[in-house]
Every structure is written in structure tokens, then in C-alpha cells.
Amino acid sequence: MPRSGFVALIPVAPGRLEELERVLLSWGNDVLLEDEGGLKPDAFVDFRDQQFIHFMRFALLKVDNEQRLLITADFDLEIHDFLEFLRRKTTCPDAIWGLCVGWRKEIDFSLWFLNFVVVPEATYIAFPGVTLQRVNQAVALFKFRDEVLSGRFSPRRQGITEAARILVRVDCLFRAAFFIRNAAKSAYRTIGLLFSRKLDLSRQEMRLLWEGGRRVASSLNRVWWIRAFNILSRNPAPVAVPIWSSARPPFHRLTSFAGYPAEDSVFQNQLTLLTSFPAAEEARLRGVLRSIDLYARGLAFPGSLLGIATIHTVRWTILPDCHGVPGRIWLLMTSNYDGSWDSYISEFCARIFSGLDAIWGCAEGAPPAGARDIPAFKEFLRTRQIPAAVFYSAYKGGSVSFTRMALTLRPVNRLIAGLVG
């Protein structure tokens, strides 16, 4: 089963927004630590009970005065099969899809839905190609290994525990093997990408891509090969002149606690961010995003986006056909990440601020000093963040770094499991 995912933006029928919101809010939300507690609402898409959805979210957002229903999902199916699954699991379609533009009972759900699926400009997936089943299996094996090592599992079979302890000593070999395999894969993928037709760019696009990549890379000297790139391409790090924080009320006051107050106590969280740009920036923005996309599809190692190991998936989408305000474009970012909002944003601002500035530097309302001004940048994001009405994560308890470890050590852990029989 291939792993895929989508971002869909479905226009909500005029006047039906509140109704739709009420329906969605009754489904439970992993960010708010809500559980529907066994009670199933009447109108429902009962997608939780399966083994192939990694993440899913529903949110309501307004782009240039048009209300839309945003749905994002990551799953291990072909998109058609997934949409068929959604259709089957919808208990009262009139009360959900019926509130959106253009849906009627008679029409083909998949075809209707596909109209609204938008193609992201850049996509990063922590473990591309790894199915949820495989993740769960690796995690289960890892937990089993802990049990065996602690001797609690089979106190009478000391020999097994001892053997397991010896096996664990060679963890490093498996880590090395994992590293080498991934390095080879990255190289292979990158070469493949460079020669693929997808990269059939005009000279102008090529230049924007190159410049975008350089801007993103400029503060990333801590990654050795980017340092080499920066030296070779004479790409100096941004000069750190002291700057004044522009985080100031009343801008501040309005927004401190928009979104969820509970965003620090959840295992997985989501960020839905809608920012606007002057249309003149579009080409440049696409260049930057494309360079990120290229990196994510090619060089990126499993579980690490430029050394940041809290992101499960992230997609940047430039919204098509938003004609409300001429001269303005919209960028939608949807991500699923581990842990607290505060840490997540701080980490980004501190460690890849050149990347954030390359993307959002010329967004409307971005702080003049950019992402280095963490308080102001956080406020900028908070004001543009859209709370999810429904959020689902299959990784209850499994962070990216833990998942990576479980996947890396899966072969050893299988051996250990084999010993026990």
C-alpha cells in the first residue's frame, strides 16, 4: 500500500457554516484531549477505527471572504480507495457534505471531492513509504524488547534476558546499517529527481529555485553538507545585528491565547497556518518552496527535516483561485508535529530562521526582524493560526524520534522477539 495524503479545500455552502461547525466539533479532538467517549454523533465520519490513517484534520477557514472546509489526511491507501472509505464511513452525508458546495446524493463522491484537492508546493513526510502498520509493529517490538531486557517478561528464562542484553550491545551496528541504507537511498532519490522530468524548469524558475535554496540554507551552517554548500556557493550567514523585538500590544493582547490553551500537554499536535502575500512575491515564494520540496524528497533523512526531529508531516500549499482581493495570494501550511506549540515554534525560530524568513519574510504582517524575534514571530503565527475542529493522530505516544529509533532497531528487536519465540 503506498503512503499518500492530500490537502482539500471545499467551499462551504452560503449560510451553512455554523451548522457544519457544530457537527465537526462533536467529533472529538486529539489536541483538546477530547474523546467522543463511545457516544457517536448522528452526523459523523467514523474514520478512527482503522489501521491506515496516520493523521487527519478538519478545520474551517476563511479565505478572502469565502468559507472553506479544510481536510488534510495522511494514509496508506490509493486516494480513490481512501475517498471510498470516507464515503462509506459517513453516517449522515446530508448533514456534512450536504453543507458544502455542489454535493448531491446522486453524484460520485470521489469525483466531487477530487475537485477540491489542491497540490502542495512542498511536502515533507518524516517516514515516506513507511506504513502505519509497520510503524506500529516496530514500536510494539521496541516495547517488547524493553520488557525482555527488564527481565520482567520471563523471570524464569534468565538466559533469554542475557542473550537479549548481548544483542543490544550491537545496536550501533544496526544504526550504522540504517544510516548507510538511508544515505544510499537519499543519493539515489536525489539523482533520480535531478534527472526526472518533474524538474523541467525554465531558466527563470531555475534561478528562483537556486536563490530560494540559498536563502533557506544561509543560517544552517551547523549541518555539515550545507556548510560546504554555503562555502562553495559563497552564501554568507545572515549578520546578527541586534534588533528590537517588535512584539507589542495591542497586537499582542488580542492574540495571546487564540487557538488552544492545551497545546503543551498533547503528544501530537497540528498547525494550520494561513498567511497572505503580495502577489508579486509568488514566483519567489514558489522558488523557495520548491527548493524545500526538492530537499525533502531527495536528501532528507527519515525523521529529520534539517535536523529538526519533531515533524511528522508538513505541506505548504499556495491556494489556487482566490480572487477576493486582487494582488494577494494565500499560503496554507499544514503540519503535524510532536509536543508543545511553544517548543516547536521556538525550535524553528532558533535553528532555521533563515528558512522561515525565506518563506514568510515578505508575508503580510510578518515582524520586520523576522523569525529571530521569537516573541513577535510567535504572535505573527498565532494570529494566523486556524484551530482544527477535528484532529486525529495515530501516533499516540510515538514521537518522530522514538519512531525513528524503533524503525532503526527493528531488525535487532525482531531477533530478540525470535529468541523468545
Binding site: R222, I308, A350, P375
Partner: protein, 502 residues
């Protein structure tokens, strides 16, 4: 970017930022309300002469028997007639204060539904305008200061909302029995090494090369030329914050018998016995240091006479360690221990050691806390195994009998930071209360976590070792919040400006 502070600036900084006054064991915190603006202003105009500066503190000869520091709440600035426009230039967390309902919920002081989890507030913090914090060499000096201050302040149009007495024990211990106040960041501007000055003092660049939020005023607002010009690209403005900082004050009651009884119960639950060595071991795993202050990383086993312990204690070098190199997997100092949560140093999961150091550098606190109330038992018995038996006698039977003065003791948690949101609130929330921080496996900070029913699916504290380790039972809420606030500790020049008004 990282320069030493000039003599002029050091002269302008309140000395509390420079020193925690280890030579002045007694302290008092007077919380005041301004009743009469005119008289209060007159009274306060005489104060700057009494406030000692960092220069004085640095110059040991000039150390006196009492040292005064003064800080304001946002309400206090307004009550003194500072205009809204100026007060609104302060960061929102300072304006709203620690007790605003959503901030309380954010900090875990109130459950998210709005139901106060701690109904007891020792004083209504919204009415507090000023904090006079004074440190003394002895209780008698303190007493005479207090009686004089009470007279003067009421004549000066101020009324006393609360008066708290703090102390620094000879042993340096807080009430659970652990040596406190060991680890504190150095400020680059003072020492030429350590954290960027702007992490703790306004008006200087912080670790990100960014100037913390500070109220900048137009020159017209400062007709007497009291304030220094703002740095960098704002030189035409005056900086009200420069050389000042924000002060976080929290009165935290400690239920000592609840803490030690939990330890004893948990040992009994797991081992079927509660030997003194087991008790000290478990309590130290929760704190992250041995009772005498030696880190678990440096001395994984307690042996009071081991070389390493003797050497560390003698040299007083209790803080020269990191976790990353020696203790990647938390077998010595658990990830979930209080000190490892509050300052994970170079050990944060998913980050390399140097990245983790970079991260922690942005979330540090300059702590100046003092404890209050009498010791429940002689805490020094924890330092030598010979006297541990006493501990066992104390906590063998059920708790209620042992502590009649319940909750009458605790810690005044006091910390300075240039950005309350990114430092104090972040540490409390994203590190302390976060059940998923750094392998916490559903647990919260064993000392300061909300540790109540607020967090669904909460679990005990994981203590890993080579063989998988243990998980404690659910930790009781032995520390509870009794009130507090966010204050602005101005520079001496800013203090003068505040008293003069526009």
C-alpha cells in the same frame, strides 16, 4: 554583541540582579498598595538613595547589613499615574499579571475549565502595586526595619497588603531537604562569560541577538533626561526598561510530610519495605541531586565519604556537569527529575548536545528564591547515612499525626528574566507541566507539576536504569501555589523617572 557592562550601567542596575545575597540570610517581601498617589510619589522619591546597585554588590567592602530592592506591578505603574500608553508598551504577560484567569490556566494554577484548583490565595495579587524586598544580616535588623517601614509607608500613602518573611538556611536547604540555589546562570555583562546579558537584563541583545521587549519612550516623555537612550536602531528614543528586568514571584507552599510519605509509600509498594537508603534514593531521583547538592550524574550512588562527593562538597563545585556525555539514557539522573526538566542542559531528545545547549540557553531563569516557615524535621539528617534512621522513624506511620502545622512552610520562588513568556512561563509549562517533554512518559514535574486531576492519563515518574527501570506511583501535589505576581524591577534611573512622572 556580548560586551561587559559599563560602570555607568552597573551603577544603574539593582543589586539583586547581581547577587542573591548569600551573606544576608533573612529577607522580607512587603507587598503594598498605593492609596494616595501624590503622597506615595513623594515617599518613593526618597527611595532611590536606599537602593543598592550592582556596583555596590560587586564591591564587597561596601556590603551592608541590609539591602533594599523595589519592583512594580503594571497596576502599580498605573496607580502612580503613569499613562496607559506607556504601560501598554510593556509585554502583555506583565500587564495581565500572573493571576489573569487564562494565565493561571496556562501555568497550571487553575484548571482549564476555570475552576480554581487552589482556592487559597494568601493575598489578592491584583491589589498589589509594589514589592519592597529587603535582605538582612539578622532577624533583629529585619525587625527594626519592618517597624520603621510600616510607619513610613503608611505615612507615605501606601498600605501593606502582605508581609512575607523569607530565610536562607545555613544548610542552604529547601523544606523537602535538598540543597537549593546551586545552579544559576552567569550573566555575560557582569562576568565576561555565560548567558547573553539580554536574557536577564532589558536593553541588551539576548541569545538570539534580539532586544527583549522594553518600553521605549519619546524624548518629550523624559524632560529631566533621566532615562538612557535606546540602543541600536532606536537611538532617538528613551529606554524605560534598560538595566531593569522582570521579576516573577510565586509563593509555593510545601507539604513536606505528603512528599516524604509518598516516597515511603512508594518504596513499600515496590519493595515491600522502606529502608532509609531507599527513601533517600527515590527522593533524590525525583529532584535530580542528592540532598547535599551533589549531582546524580557525578555521583550515581550515594556514598557520603566517596572521593567525588567529598571533593565536590569541599570545592563547592556542585554545578560543573552536563547530562549528554555521561548520562544519555537517564540511568543516573532521570529525564523526569526536577532539575533535568527545569534545565535539561545538553540533553533534550531529538536534539544534538550542542543544539540542546542552544535551546536551554534561551529558557533560563535567574533564581533568587528563599524559603519560609520552620523545618518539619532537622533536614541535615539527610546528609549522612548514619542519621537516616531518623527519617525512617518519621515517615513510618501514616502522615497525619506528624505534621500539625501543615502547609505552613514553603518556598518563595523568585526569578528574574527578560522575557516572562519565553523563560518562566515556558519552563513551567512546556517543560515542567508537559507530560511529554523529554521521555516524561505522561508524568509531570515531580515537585512543581500540577500533579492533579487536570491532566488526563497522567502517570508516575519514570526512573530508567540498565534493566528498564521503574515507574513511581502517582505523585501527590506536595507543592501548591498560594499567590504571586509579575513585577518590573526597574533600573535606578527608571525608578527616578517613575517617581517623577512626566
Amino acid at each position: 554583541m556580548k560586551d561587559l557592562l559599563s560602570a555607568e550601567d552597573t551603577n544603574d542596575i539593582q543589586s539583586w540582579i547581581y547577587s542573591g545575597y548569600p551573606h544576608l540570610p533573612k529577607s522580607t517581601y512587603a507587598f503594598l498598595r498605593i492609596d494616595d498617589q501624590i503622597r506615595a510619589r513623594q515617599f518613593l522619591k526618597g527611595i532611590p538613595w536606599q537602593i543598592s546597585s550592582a556596583t555596590k554588590s560587586r564591591n564587597r567592602q561596601a556590603q551592608s547589613h541590609q539591602v533594599l530592592n523595589v519592583a512594580f506591578t503594571a497596576m502599580g505603574l498605573l496607580a502612580l499615574g503613569i499613562d496607559d500608553e506607556t504601560v501598554e508598551k510593556f509585554p502583555i504577560e506583565f500587564q495581565e499579571g500572573m493571576n489573569a484567569p487564562h494565565r493561571g490556566a496556562f501555568l497550571g494554577d487553575i484548571s482549564p475549565g476555570g475552576k480554581p484548583d487552589h482556592t487559597v490565595r494568601d493575598y489578592a495579587a491584583s491589589a498589589v502595586h509594589l514589592l519592597f524586598a529587603c535582605h538582612f544580616i539578622s532577624a533583629s535588623v529585619r525587625d527594626s526595619w519592618i517597624s520603621k517601614f510600616q510607619r513610613d509607608s503608611s505615612a507615605g500613602g501606601l498600605s501593606l497588603v502582605g508581609l512575607e518573611l523569607g530565610e536562607l538556611a545555613d544548610s542552604g536547604k529547601e523544606h523537602f531537604g535538598f540543597k537549593d540555589g546551586i545552579s544559576n546562570p552567569e550573566i555575560h555583562g557582569f562576568k565576561g562569560a555565560g548567558s547573553a546579558t539580554g536574557e536577564f537584563i532589558l536593553g541588551y541583545p539576548n541569545e538570539q541577538g534580539c532586544m527583549p521587549v522594553s518600553p521605549l519612550l519619546s524624548p518629550e516623555s523624559d524632560p529631566h533626561d533621566l532615562l538612557p537612550p535606546a540602543m541600536c536602531d532606536n537611538r532617538n528614543m528613551r529606554d524605560l526598561g534598560r538595566n531593569g528586568t522582570y521579576l516573577v514571584f510565586r509563593k509555593l507552599a510545601q507539604d513536606v510530610s505528603a512528599f516524604w510519605n509518598f516516597i515511603a509509600d512508594d518504596c513499600r509498594r515496590r519493595l515491600g519495605r522502606a529502608e532509609p537508603a531507599d527513601l533517600v534514593w527515590l527522593a533524590s531521583k525525583l529532584v535530580g541531586r542528592w540532598p547535599n547538592g551533589v549531582s546524580l550524574v557525578e555521583a550515581p550512588h550515594f556514598d557520603a565519604y566517596s572521593e567525588i562527593m567529598q571533593e565536590r562538597l569541599k570545592a563547592g563545585s556542585l554545578n560543573d556537569f552536563t547530562y549528554g556525555q555521561t548520562d544519555t539514557s537517564g540511568h543516573r539522573c532521570p529525564f523526569a527529575a526536577h532539575v533535568a526538566r527545569m534545565n535539561p542542559r545538553d540533553r533534550i531528545q531529538g536534539l544534538s548536545e550542542s543544539e540542546a545547549l542552544g535551546t536551554t540557553a534561551r529558557h533560563r531563569l535567574l533564581r533568587r528564591g528563599r524559603r519560609y516557615g520552620p523545618e518539619l524535621f532537622d533536614l541535615k539528617i539527610l546528609d549522612t547515612p548514619e542519621s537516616w534512621n531518623r527519617l525512617q522513624q518519621l515517615f513510618q506511620s501514616r502522615p497525619e499525626a506528624q505534621d500539625t502545622t501543615r502547609s505552613d512552610r514553603g518556598l518563595f520562588f523568585i526569578a528574574f528574566c527578560a522575557n516572562i513568556r519565553e523563560q518562566f512561563e515556558f519552563v513551567q509549562r512546556a517543560w515542567g507541566n508537559n507530560p511529554h517533554f523529554n521521555s516524561a512518559k505522561g508524568s509531570q514535574d515531580p515537585l512543581i507539576g500540577t500533579n492533579s486531576s487536570i491532566t488526563p492519563g497522567r502517570s508516575g515518574i519514570p526512573i530508567p536504569d540498565r534493566d528498564g527501570g521503574i515507574t513511581t506511583g502517582l505523585v501527590p501535589q506536595a507543592v501548591s501555589f498560594r499567590g504571586g505576581g509579575y513585577f518590573f524591577l526597574p533600573s535606578i534611573a527608571a525608578f527616578r523617572w517613575i517617581c517623577h512622572g512626566k
